[in-house]
């Protein structure tokens, strides 16, 4: 967004920026609503995941609090400092502020009884509890990043209201970095949903350990992980450099549309690779 090249293209940049901000706000709200619906379904079908999301060790019969931020002991079972919102977990899980939410300890012993003798690979080394710190933090980062994107969008809309053009340099950083937030939110969401379901692949039916392919050696899997990470890493660098180059160059000069319906056989293609 070099000021030198903006000039007469300012209206175009304004429209694009404000459209992006509006979509971010609307989409963010829609995601929050659909996420809320999903959260309630999750409490019913995978209650351990909801308990893990909140690191709720003791079941709460009603008014379960939602913690925004917790510092706990190293094994995750004791909290030292926490910022909580009363009743919010009950609302997220059940839709009612006085709804009950099952805790990790209660679910753990419940699963040991239900699945303990099922012949599943789990009963030998049974830990029905997923990684709590990872579940807890990825859940919060997912939501935090989503709300941050909406806040940035609202700030942009406010700063460009009427015909205002924001002048401070830090707006540039905000605009550049805000599109990364949905990507991060998406990733944290996936990490949460997969980690929180462990040790199950299909909850209650198939453990992750049963789903591993016996014919694929660990070395092959490591190879593919390394290859994909390297490949996507290199391609990410290439792509970001292209983005930055195109952004610095600014929009191409405006050309009036050409009527192509009456052109001869040898006219150039309108678009070609």
């Amino acid at each position: 967004m070099r000021r030198a090249t903006v000039g007469s293209d300012l209206p175009m940049y304004r429209s694009a920026t404000r459209l992006g901000a509006v979509v971010t706000l609307v989409a963010g709200l829609a995601v929050a609503v659909s996420g809320d619906v999903q959260g309630k379904i999750m409490t019913e079908v995978q209650p351990m995941k909801m308990a893990a999301a909140e690191a709720l060790y003791q079941s709460a019969a009603h008014d379960a609090p939602f913690s925004l931020f917790t510092v706990g002991s190293l094994d995750g079972t004791q909290e030292k400092f926490s910022v909580t919102v009363p009743g919010l977990l009950s609302f997220l899980a059940t839709g009612k502020f006085d709804g009950g939410v099952k805790g990790i300890n209660e679910l753990k012993s419940q699963y040991a009884t239900t699945y303990g003798d099922s012949g599943n690979a789990l009963d030998k080394d049974a830990t029905y509890v997923p990684n709590i710190p990872l579940s807890y933090w990825s859940f919060r980062l997912m939501m935090g990043v989503g709300f941050a994107a909406m806040a940035a969008a609202a700030a942009v809309l406010w700063a460009t209201r009427r015909d205002l053009v924001p002048q401070a340099r830090w707006w540039r950083w905000l605009i550049l970095l805000t599109p990364l937030l949905p990507i991060l939110g998406n990733s944290f969401g996936w990490i949460f949903t997969e980690v929180g379901r462990q040790p199950w692949l299909v909850f209650g039916l198939m453990a992750t350990s049963t789903g591993v392919s016996p014919a694929v050696a660990a070395g092959e899997v490591v190879t593919s992980m390394v290859v994909y990470t390297l490949l996507y890493g290199i391609l990410a660098v290439v792509e970001v450099k292209l983005f930055l180059a195109y952004m610095r160059a600014g929009a191409p000069p405006f050309e009036a549309p050409v009527d192509r319906t009456t052109q001869d056989e040898d006219a150039e293609l309108a678009f070609a690779y």
Partner: protein, 346 residues
């Protein structure tokens, strides 16, 4: 015909669709250094862009067919999918990486006006077309020829088991068929010097391919041949010969139709050689995966059939529409100057 057999046929059709369509994409990509060589630098660049633009509007839609083939295998025959994709883990990794860099090559090639940038992405397109053209043939030939599968439906070999003489011959046959098919597509879709050159390439590669293909289908037919597979083999051979003759006579549409039928009949031959197995076991025939022991439940297959009946005609409709819209022949005179912002040129 029961549902598992119906879906065996559908998967055969999906692989056929993939190879007759993406086959010429691979061929055109591999022919970039051959048909894309012009009289000077400007002409070379224009010829390469002509080649890429013949497949430009359609390569993405063509590639989707392999996803449907794999997806149908996953849903209709989960055991087949599990054993096959576990056995082919590393080759499939190679194919996917090749496809990723090829596809990026098409899109990124024109984003900077720099010779080295374009040359590198051209290499990506060429290698990214060569690797799948070879390895898909190796993979499918291995299926037909038989792999060491044990009583638990697990593959018991390693990467080198997959690279045996018969499967490598199969890879060379698909390589040659796709080169020929791609050259004939180029002859059909271009005007000017490229059109002439493409026809010459098609003849030379086509003859070599015909020899290899006869050898391959004879070897495989001797193992598992039946009346149906010999019939499709003969039709495939006749179609290839017909394609090459039509090409010599300048009948490019018929020539392309010929290799289209050749590839379709080759895949049909493979599936007829397989049936009723889906993955014969070279260790013990009793341990082979069959249409019956590898399939999903009838309920799953019934739902899938309904969905397929609804959506397949739609897909065929809009894909044909794309080919109709972009039916015009392209020559070097049609290629505009590079489109990226002036600030990015060197």
């Amino acid at each position: 015909m029961d549902f598992p057999t119906i879906w065996f046929v559908i998967i055969g059709v999906l692989w056929t669709g993939y190879f007759v369509l993406e086959g010429f994409d691979f061929g055109v990509g591999m022919l970039l250094p051959v048909l894309g060589r012009g009289t000077d630098d400007v002409d070379t660049e224009k010829r390469r862009r002509v080649l890429i633009n013949t497949i430009g509007p359609v390569w993405d839609g063509n590639e989707v067919w392999v996803l449907t083939a794999g997806g149908a295998t996953f849903a209709a025959f989960p055991h087949w999918y599990a054993t096959m994709f576990s056995a082919f883990y590393l080759p499939l990794l190679l194919i996917l990486v090749a496809l990723i860099v090829r596809n990026l090559g098409f899109d990124y090639r024109g984003k900077r006006d720099d010779d080295r940038w374009r040359a590198n992405w051209d290499k990506a397109i060429i290698v990214g077309s060569f690797v799948p053209a070879l390895l898909w043939g190796v993979a499918l030939t291995n299926l037909v020829h038989g792999l060491p599968i044990d009583a638990d439906m697990e593959f018991r070999g390693n990467l080198f088991t997959l690279l045996n003489p018969v499967s490598l011959l199969g890879g060379l046959v698909t390589l040659g068929l796709f080169l020929t098919h791609g050259a004939l597509f180029t002859a059909l879709k271009t005007t000017g010097q490229i059109r002439e050159d493409a026809r010459g390439v098609a003849t030379r590669v086509g003859v070599a391919t015909a020899v290899l293909a006869v050898a391959l289908l004879a070897v495989l037919g001797a193992q598992h041949g039946n009346a149906g597979s010999w019939l499709t083999t003969v039709v495939a051979a006749l179609a290839l010969v017909g394609a090459l003759v039509a090409n010599l006579r300048g009948r490019e549409g018929w020539a392309f139709t010929g290799t289209f039928v050749t590839i379709a009949m080759a895949v049909a031959t493979y599936f007829l050689l397989l049936f009723p197995n889906v993955m014969p076991s070279s260790l013990n025939p009793a341990w082979s995966l069959t249409v019956d022991n590898a399939s999903s439940t009838p309920y799953t297959l019934k739902i899938m059939t309904v969905v397929a009946l609804v959506f397949t005609p739609l897909v065929l409709l809009y894909q044909s529409w794309t080919y109709w819209v972009f039916r015009k022949r392209i020559g070097t005179q049609h290629i505009p100057a590079a489109a990226q912002p002036a600030a990015l040129s060197h």
